[in-house]
């Protein structure tokens, strides 16, 4: 294994690739790929997947090495950029960045955008490195790890994610559960995943796929906040009119990751593990990490109002997931995400077959892919840090200019994903719904979490029960499942225990629910 690692390092730093008459050093290719990934990642509704799909015909005559370097770096390049827009203007660049909005944007509203962006950059870079190191460490056992997860484990992961609803609704549990219930109801719109029956589609093709995440996030986060901003008569997002008046600093944000190092490590572990499991996705991972951050800290009242830990957790998780999501690709040829699917396509197009052959004879190529991912993750954070002073200006732009711009961006982002006008309409429906929920203190995050996790919860519950009925699944014979049950119980009980202690000690705690 070490020989393969050395070989890949030599190819990357000392080798070059021919493009017609031009020879380009291999190290330049992940830099170019990173910039391409960032370009697509920062546009709402469009992601690195689009960039990769566009580039496929361009690479037909290329050799394998530049293709691996390019696609691996585009894959890694898109993740961080989405968090810049999530923090500054409450628009998640990609669905996994949505959890960053919950505390990142409130920090921008308080004039602390630099701190949030600094924390995001550091957590992303370090989380990505963590994911890559775990990926390398997992190489000998990745197959067994992927095979260990089945419907029972996926179901418990969904339940674990849903318990976050109870935590973020603390102090207003009825409203939180109501919002979660609506989210679950919305999750069931579309085709029954097991029988194929259509549910609540009202005879339309549009609703057959259910509620899409892009209109949900754009509506509930961007449009809601812009309506709120306009209605509040606030002059700018941050309330300040000049950049010099902004508080917080880049370095304060970077150092905060070290201050909350335990949370960073736990979130990175969550991201890497969830990334390894095909079918879960980065969106689920980042919300589970956010929920874990809320559940695992004693003083969690500021979550949803601008707590830096609410930025560190999902950002670390999101980038650690990239490394994890390559595990099923390399071990089985099974992509853990759409981006990983295109990396796989690029590999197959050039004759590189994932699985045992890749992990033995061509291990140096697997390391090359890992290098590309690592470089792009680090580079995006470095570039993000370099442009912080320019991008934070968004938070001092006058509302009269910003709100229409954001609405236009939301329309473009909603339309760009599927070119469906229904998505644009749905974005504004969710925008209005989100505004009303915010006004009446119903936590939006509960609805969003329930909607995201609903299908995962339903499908895996039904499959697990069916396998149990067929005699193929003994719940008590699955240690990971039992471990997740225990962890979930602890996650639910512990906050209530804390709450009881607090009531006995210092009175009733302020609920973060209504501010979400």
């Amino acid at each position: 294994m070490f020989d393969s690692f050395l070989e890949s390092t030599g190819i990357l730093f000392l080798g070059s690739s021919l493009f017609g008459p031009v020879s380009i050093p291999n190290i330049a290719i992940p830099i170019i790929g990173t910039l391409i990934g960032m370009f697509f990642g920062i546009l709402p509704g469009v992601s690195g997947v689009t960039g990769m799909a566009l580039l496929i015909p361009f690479t037909f005559s290329w050799t394998l090495i530049p293709t691996i370097l390019l696609f691996g770096s585009i894959y890694g390049g898109g993740t961080y950029c989405g968090s810049i827009t999530a923090i500054l203007i409450n628009i998640p660049g990609t669905a996994p960045n949505a959890a960053t909005c919950l505390d990142g944007y409130p920090m921008a509203r308080m004039g602390e955008a630099k701190t949030a962006l600094g924390a995001s950059a550091a957590a992303s870079a370090m989380g990505a490195a963590f994911g890559v190191f775990v990926l390398i460490a997992m190489l000998p056992v990745m197959r067994a790890t992927v095979l260990a997860f089945g419907p029972a484990e996926f179901f418990m992961l969904a339940v674990l994610g849903l318990t976050v609803i109870a935590v973020v609704s603390e102090g207003n549990l009825i409203k939180g559960m109501a919002a979660g219930g609506v989210g679950l109801l919305l999750a069931f719109i579309g085709r029954d995943p097991v029988t194929g029956a259509l549910r609540f589609t009202f005879g339309t093709l549009y609703l057959q796929d259910g509620i899409r995440l892009v209109p949900l996030f754009l509506g509930m986060f961007a449009v809601t906040e812009m309506i709120n901003l306009a209605a509040s008569r606030r002059k700018t997002i941050s309330g300040r009119e000049h950049v010099e008046e902004l508080t917080g600093s880049l370095w304060e944000g970077v150092l905060s990751v070290f201050r909350y190092f335990g949370l960073f490590i736990r979130s990175s572990i969550l991201g890497t593990v969830i990334g390894m499991i095909p079918g879960i996705g980065g969106t689920v991972a980042s919300f589970v990490a956010y929920g874990h951050a809320v559940q695992s800290t004693k003083d969690n009242q500021r979550f949803g109002k601008g707590d830096i830990r609410g930025v560190i957790a999902p950002e670390a998780c999101n980038d650690a997931k990239d490394g994890g999501s390559l595990v099923p690709v390399l071990a089985f040829g099974i992509p853990g995400s759409e981006g990983a699917a295109l990396v796989l396509v690029a590999m197959l197009l050039h004759g590189l077959i994932p699985g045992r052959e890749l992990m033995t004879t061509n291990l140096h190529l697997a390391f090359l892919l890992i290098w590309a991912l690592f470089i792009s993750n680090q580079l995006t954070s470095i570039i993000g840090v370099m442009i912080i002073n320019q991008v934070v200006r968004f938070t001092v732009i006058r509302t009269q200019l910003l709100v229409p711009f954001i609405f236009i961006l939301a329309v473009v982002g909603a339309y760009a994903e599927r070119t469906a006008m229904g998505d644009v309409l749905l974005t504004f429906v969710f925008g209005v719904l989100g505004y009303l929920m915010k006004k009446h203190a119903y936590p939006r995050v509960s609805l969003v979490i329930a909607l995201i996790l609903g299908e995962l919860f339903e499908v895996n519950f039904r499959q697990a029960m069916r396998l149990h009925e067929f005699g193929r699944l003994d719940f008590f014979d699955r240690p990971i499942f039992l471990g997740l049950v225990l962890f979930t119980l602890l996650s639910v009980v512990y906050p209530f225990y804390q709450s009881l202690r607090a009531r006995k000690g210092i009175g009733v705690k302020q609920s973060p629910a209504g501010k979400m």
């Binding site: 910039l35 799909a53 390019l70 097991v194 194929g196 549009y206 077959i353 699944l473």
Partner: protein, 354 residues
Amino acid sequence: MTKKSISRRVFLEKVGGAVAGFALLGPWAGRVVAAGTCFPSGTTVRWIVPFSAGGGYTLYSRILEPFLEDAVGAEIVVENHPGAGGATGSTKLFKATPNGRTIGIVNAGGILMSGIAGEVDFTIERYTILGRVVDTRQVICVGKPTFDKGIRTIEDVLQVKEPLIWGVTGPGSNEFFGAAVLSHLLGIKRRFLSGYPGSTEYVLAAAKGEIDLVESTFSSLISPIEAGDLVPLALVGPKVPEHAIFEKKRIPSVMEIAKMVGANASDVLGAAQVTAAGRVVVGPPGIPADVTKCLSNGLYEAMTNPGLKAIADGARRPIDPIGAEEARRALLEAAVSAKKFKKIWQQAVKELGT
């Protein structure tokens, strides 16, 4: 098509593509489209893909794109319109203006399924058929853990006392139709486990031993077969895929199995034709005959280009082209079979929920 009518997404796509191509000095950058053969010079043809950007249909489209541009003399712009299991994009394609400037690639089997389910009000044969890129001939495989327990051949499958578990995505898929009808006709005892998002997920389930049988296209299953996670048991169709695995060990076709068990071999062949209906290139109904002929000839020329075959073989995405007329005949036969087995399929769908 003028620039004004190009959608915002196409514009973004063009900008992104131009930036990427220029920056990378790829040999395709700045490629010059040959002077028009089917259309006036400078014409753009929209190519609709009813699935998302990361899947096989997009891959085939991207592989075909440059060769088709040269063959028909127009710029091809690939547009993804996913949704409703392909029905959204297929419907958009069906209702497009029939001037030859909107064509696309569809899952013919999926449209047949949507038709018998009553979810769309059109049928595959009503499109203007331009050709078929590849058939979606399927292979039935057993998972390694089940193989190790003694289910090693199709004869073992036919003799089980307890039903085997067959993993499927859902009732709208080709593989479910094949599994439902073939297991009924051949007398295979099975129960379905549905809800897998795609073939990769149920392949993983078979590799874990959660389920026993899977059925999918050979190109989807070749990697797990080579890795030893799946073992092929039967070919759904008469053609044997070109691969060393089938040279080493003879795998029977479902028609041969039909004769073995005394089932109607032509019924079994009909069911196989539905599942193998393929990835078909179509346009909306009513494209003028001269444009149709030019497009279908150009498509066939592109699909039979040795350069395309080399790229597709390298990507393990076989190209097995047939021309417009032959494709149309095959689809008509498949449509007849789909209607014939509708009741068996509906019965199997009911079982999914019990």
